[in-house]
């Protein structure tokens, strides 16, 4: 399985980034080959539609799973259209989350937050 995670720095000691769409980097970790790849997130500086562009990057990188603390509805739309499952991260450690995922301890992310232009409760 190719697991993608938004991360703050390009190394395995990095913390998981709090933002999915505007994270500086992604880690793509292959649970079979145990290889790691860090990629830049070119969507981070987009004026708009960052989540969409970020999700597209991961779709094109053939991610199977995304582990993230949160995810917006536009990004989720793209990921789900590509049959990518979204898991909620537990804590900010990369290794901790990979281990948790592999041992089936992570939950699916079910609180998808609204996109930038729409607010909850008709606000």
């Amino acid at each position: 399985m190719r697991v993608a995670m938004p991360v703050d720095k390009k190394n395995m000691d990095s913390s998981i980034c709090v933002s999915f769409g505007r994270t500086p980097y992604y880690l793509i970790y292959d649970t079979n080959t145990k290889k790691s790849e860090f990629i830049d997130n070119s969507a981070a500086t987009s004026p708009g539609g960052a989540g969409i562009k970020a999700a597209q990057i991961l779709v094109d990188k053939k991610a199977d799973i995304v582990i993230t603390p949160r995810c917006g509805e536009n990004a989720a739309n793209v990921l789900i259209s590509a049959d990518i499952k979204i898991f909620k991260s537990n804590g900010s450690s990369i290794k901790g989350n990979i281990d948790a995922y592999v041992s089936g301890k992570l939950n699916l992310l079910d609180e998808i937050h609204p996109g930038f232009h729409r607010h909850e409760n008709g606000f």
């Binding site: 597209q56 536009n74 793209v78 259209s81 590509a82 996109g115 232009h117």
Partner: protein, 286 residues
Amino acid sequence: MRIAVLSGKGGAGKTLLCVNLAVVAKKSTYIDCDVEEPNGHLFFKPPITKEKEISIKIPEVDKEICNGCRKCVEFCNYNALAYAKDKVIVFDEICHSCGGCMILCPEKAISERDKVIGKIKVGSFEEVMVLTGILNTGEVSGIPIINELLLENRPDKNRTIFIDCPPGSSCSVMESIKDADYCILVAEPTLFGVHNLNMVYELVKLFNKPFGAVLNKCLDVENPAEEFCAENDIKILGRIPFDKELGILNSNAKIAVRESKEYAKQFSSLLDIIFMEARNEAATNT
């Protein structure tokens, strides 16, 4: 003559000014460009004679013709398109309707469909023609509606057009003032008010529009807005005193110049000054 009334912050008195000036001007048109929350109509309560839906174009991809080249996805500057599992996904609310993807598609798989984003209502109050723009909740931009509102009303020698602008100094405000002959900046007598006055002051200078200021809610104390105008050589067209009576009328959606002879006189004099200033500016600019 097209007169736009703007202020950096909401609640400064744009609608108060626009509505009352339009009424004393008699043969006039009032255009509510604050399409996210139009409020002029609350005062006029105009019977509606015409309604028009406003729509924008959103791309639609024919899955049968699309070959997955993704040129549209790479092209879209707004990231409104994505591609997954052999299908292009279109994000309506992100799309800015530029039409580029449709032009670019090598297979001609993209067509346009209409998406209604709001409407325009036309009515009248006495001799005032009242145009209201309404943006549907959740839509991204009111600019297509503002555009249509201003097109609806070409300059007419016999009618003065009063444009009630949205608050702030963003794209919607720029669209509202772009064809104005004269701009009135409404200011509150507070530091925060002055900070916002400065934003619209910068905007009208950038757009090279002749302008003047009206100070609203004036009290018998030091007025930071007055100081700002003095420092920057901004012509003060008039000062509306802070008056509880006026506040009550306004809150009850009453047109002040119709309820009070005193206000009818005040706004009439203000209108005369505005006309004089605006005509002077027009003369010096030609």
